[in-house]
């Protein structure tokens, strides 16, 4: 069976929060995973006006990731889901996902 690195939704209505988990591909979203390797908060935080630097900065989203464990699971063949692939690309763990088709 395929191991996947994917997001598991927590939080309440309208306030999503995700654990980045390693789980069997066919297991339920809310089931206990093999391992939790990180978190992802998709609700953007707005930089405050208190400091000069972040006056024009864009809002940011917070990710926590255990790089060592992520690399291990990638090494043993776990496949990231699309959103996790995106996050891991930004963390520099995997190459950007190759697109299967090109726009004309």
């Amino acid at each position: 069976m395929v191991l996947r690195i994917r997001l598991a939704r927590f939080g309440n209505k309208h306030t999503p929060f995700y654990n980045i988990v390693v789980a069997q591909a066919r297991s339920a979203r809310g089931a206990k995973p093999l391992e939790v390797i990180g978190t992802y908060n998709p609700i953007p935080k707005r930089p405050t006006n208190l400091y000069d630097g972040n006056a024009q900065a864009r809002p940011y989203k917070e990710v926590a990731l255990d790089r060592a464990r992520a690399q291990y699971w990638l090494g043993v063949g776990a496949q990231p889901s699309d959103p996790v692939w995106k996050l891991m690309t930004m963390a520099g763990l995997v190459e950007p996902k190759p697109t299967t088709f090109h726009k004309a």
């Binding site: 206990k32 978190t39 900065a57 809002p59 989203k61 990710v63 255990d66 963390a91």
Partner: protein
């Protein structure tokens, strides 16, 4: 509740809109002067003035007699209920509440002093510690002033609305600490060496000491924290509690620990070390030891200050570097959001053997959420700056 409008005032012909807006309760229109054509308009209204209770009468009497002085303020003077008695020079009585003699309205920093503090710290690059001693302002307050003035300048630059007339009025009403003119002695704002009462000093302890031995502040601190007495040869090296200052300032982690597990605590240090400006004790000691060598004393003081600054700066830098190293900032091109990727460790130590430790990062499995439980604080307990 606003005082009821009296009919005499309302019937004033100059205020037509007033009668129309309040006609439902206290109409001034006398029945004789109103054309009573429609049945709805024919309703009779009472023309007798609304009865004032005795208490209301007394209150308005007081407000027009004794209380009239409190209605407006005189710039530069407080105007509290306790009245302006005794010394008129110092800008009024500082007690706002007649029933409470232990609360005083203490002065606030004047605008000029605030700006001067900002200039010293930010533009002249003076240390917070030095500026604090110079103006007699607490170090936390200096930090706050710098933050606030910086924010004010930014808001002015951005053209955001300010409450200038309000600020002026408040500074006229409350006592202020002025900025000393050139050559004048500065007015100290507050006491800068406040020693917080440590909880462990609350207990009364019976501790017999041989009369042949001196029992000083260092020993008292050890007794309060339950640490064994110092060895005689170690104690002999400490001629004065301020001898401990240098080591602890350089490395605050060097303070000895006593107790085990959850009961572990650091040994209570003497007041000389715990006050915010310990270097001033050393300065005073130097002054006593070398009364005729002012230059040497100042040099030694400056050297100590410099060392302390360096140590503090180094600690700050190390902490900052550690924070920055653990966070990766990603700014994707063309996206609307930035990402902050924080390093996390999901090991047995951080999540517990069963992976259910409540302090572990992320949300837990197999543990009910407390987010709706009674008696648990659900609103944020802190806001990141």
């Amino acid at each position: 509740m606003a005082p009821r409008i009296q009919p005499q005032r309302v019937s004033n012909a100059l205020l037509p809109y007033l009668t129309s807006s309040t006609s439902s309760s206290t109409s001034s229109i006398t029945p004789t002067s109103t054309p009573l054509s429609s049945p709805i308009l024919s309703r009779q209204f009472s023309v007798t003035p609304a009865p004032q209770t005795r208490l209301r009468r007394q209150m308005f009497l007081w407000l027009t007699t004794k209380g009239a002085a409190l209605k407006h303020h005189t710039p530069g003077e407080t105007n509290y209920l306790t009245g302006r008695d005794k010394d008129d020079k110092s800008g009024g009585n500082p007690r706002p509440f007649p029933g409470n003699s232990s609360f005083l309205s203490e002065s606030v920093l004047s605008e000029e002093l605030r700006n001067e503090i900002y200039v010293r710290v930010v533009e002249k690059k003076k240390s917070v510690r030095a500026v604090s001693v110079e103006f007699g302002v607490d170090m936390k307050r200096i930090a706050a002033v710098v933050r606030l003035v910086e924010l004010e300048r930014r808001q002015r630059a951005q053209g955001k609305p300010l409450a200038l007339p309000y600020a002026r009025a408040v500074h006229e009403m409350v006592p202020t600490t002025p900025l000393a003119q050139e050559g004048e002695h500065p007015v100290y704002h507050e006491s800068i060496n406040d020693l917080p009462a440590h909880p462990s000093t609350g207990a009364q302890i019976f501790y017999p000491v041989p009369e042949s031995r001196s029992f000083n502040r260092v020993d008292a601190g050890r007794v309060f924290s339950g640490a064994p007495a110092l060895e005689i040869d170690v104690a002999a090296k400490i001629s004065h509690p301020s001898d401990l200052i240098d080591d602890i300032v350089q490395n605050p982690n060097s303070i000895e620990w006593v107790g085990k597990g959850g009961n572990a605590r650091q040994v209570l240090q003497p007041a000389d070390v715990r006050i915010p400006h310990p270097q001033l004790v050393q300065l005073e000691r130097d002054r006593k030891a070398f009364p005729n060598e002012r230059r040497t004393v100042t040099e030694r003081h400056n050297e100590r200050l410099k060392k302390q600054e360096e140590a503090e700066q180094k600690r700050r830098e190390v902490a900052q570097a550690r924070r920055e190293k653990s966070v990766q900032h990603v700014e994707p091109e063309g996206g609307r959001f930035n990402y902050r990727i924080q390093d996390a460790k999901f090991t047995k130590e951080t999540v517990g053997v069963d992976g259910r430790a409540p302090w572990a990062p992320g949300r837990r499995y197999g543990i009910p959420a407390d987010d709706r439980k009674r008696g648990i604080v659900k609103i944020p307990t802190r806001v990141e700056a």
